[in-house]
């Protein structure tokens, strides 16, 4: 059976553009101390070059594409190629230019340092 049984040519521009890959939500851990916010995300199978970290207008957007090689006959499949996508709201006090990202063993580590103004300060009380 062929797919081409249309009376007229179908117009693709009426159809919404969908993603090429299915999306998956990575599990994350978020920690904070006085100096920075630390984020861990599980992205098994994602190569370093396929990770995108985007910070824009108080939104942190992480994306990682997993491409596995498919050689041979699949007898049993529980995981497939996916795009890991997740976004977070982050405080404006993050120093965007000092954000560091690291990918090791399928775990993305993000260091989001706080700006000096946002760090907690101990106010000394002086006798009047």
């Amino acid at each position: 059976m062929t797919d081409s049984k249309y009376i007229t040519r179908t117009e693709n521009k009426a159809i919404e553009k969908t993603r090429e890959l299915k999306t998956a939500t990575p599990s994350v851990d978020i920690y904070e101390n006085d100096n920075e916010i630390l984020l861990y995300a599980d992205m098994p199978g994602v190569h370093k070059d396929d990770v995108t970290v985007n910070i824009e207008n108080g939104k942190l957007f992480i994306s990682g594409i997993r491409r596995l090689d498919h050689q041979g006959v699949s007898n049993w499949a529980e995981f497939v190629d996916v795009e890991y996508v997740r976004s977070f709201s982050i405080p404006q006090s993050i120093k965007v230019k000092d954000v560091a990202a690291k990918l090791k063993d399928g775990i993305l580590t993000l260091h989001l340092p706080k700006s000096e103004a946002a760090k907690p300060r101990l106010i000394e009380v002086t006798a009047a």
Partner: protein
């Protein structure tokens, strides 16, 4: 007349979209586990793919953040067992906001379709995925039969 044709066009386009969605629904009906994150609390085991490649099997397992010392692989005939533990280290001096990744121990065992040669098994860990190459044992290998 031409505007009518355009409307028909659009209608078919929408039907096409619906059909793709239905196709996808049926393909994935029995596989709801495909897109969940690895190591959720409900599935306390890594997800596994099994590929057959001529004279060898290839097993892949999602093991993010697990060091190779924490994984143990047992093979006997056609029985394969992957077990290990996952440790989540809390960084010193940080207070947690969100903890979705969990420390766990896991074990999964399989009966492979054929016996494998345990001596020649190769295991590699890359980007949080375990790649196991399991060559079939001599008796189970595919053989070329000459036609007389």
């Amino acid at each position: 007349m031409f505007t009518r044709m355009n409307e028909i066009d659009r209608m078919f386009g929408a039907m096409d979209l619906l059909r793709t969605k239905m196709d996808r629904l049926f393909n994935e009906m029995d596989r709801p586990y495909l897109h969940r994150p690895a190591f959720t609390l409900s599935t306390n085991a890594p997800r596994i793919n099994l590929l057959e490649n001529g004279d060898k099997f290839e097993v892949r397992a999602e093991l993010p953040g697990i060091s190779k010392d924490d994984i143990s692989i047992k093979i006997q005939g056609n029985y394969l067992e992957i077990s290990g533990k996952r440790e989540i280290e809390t960084p010193e001096g940080f207070k947690p906001h969100r903890k979705e990744r969990s420390a766990t121990t896991f074990s999964r065992s399989f009966t492979l379709p054929d016996e494998v040669d345990a001596e020649k098994v190769n295991a590699a860990l890359k980007d949080g995925i375990l790649y196991l190459t399991l060559p079939k044992s001599e008796a189970a290998k595919p053989r070329q039969i000459a036609v007389n």
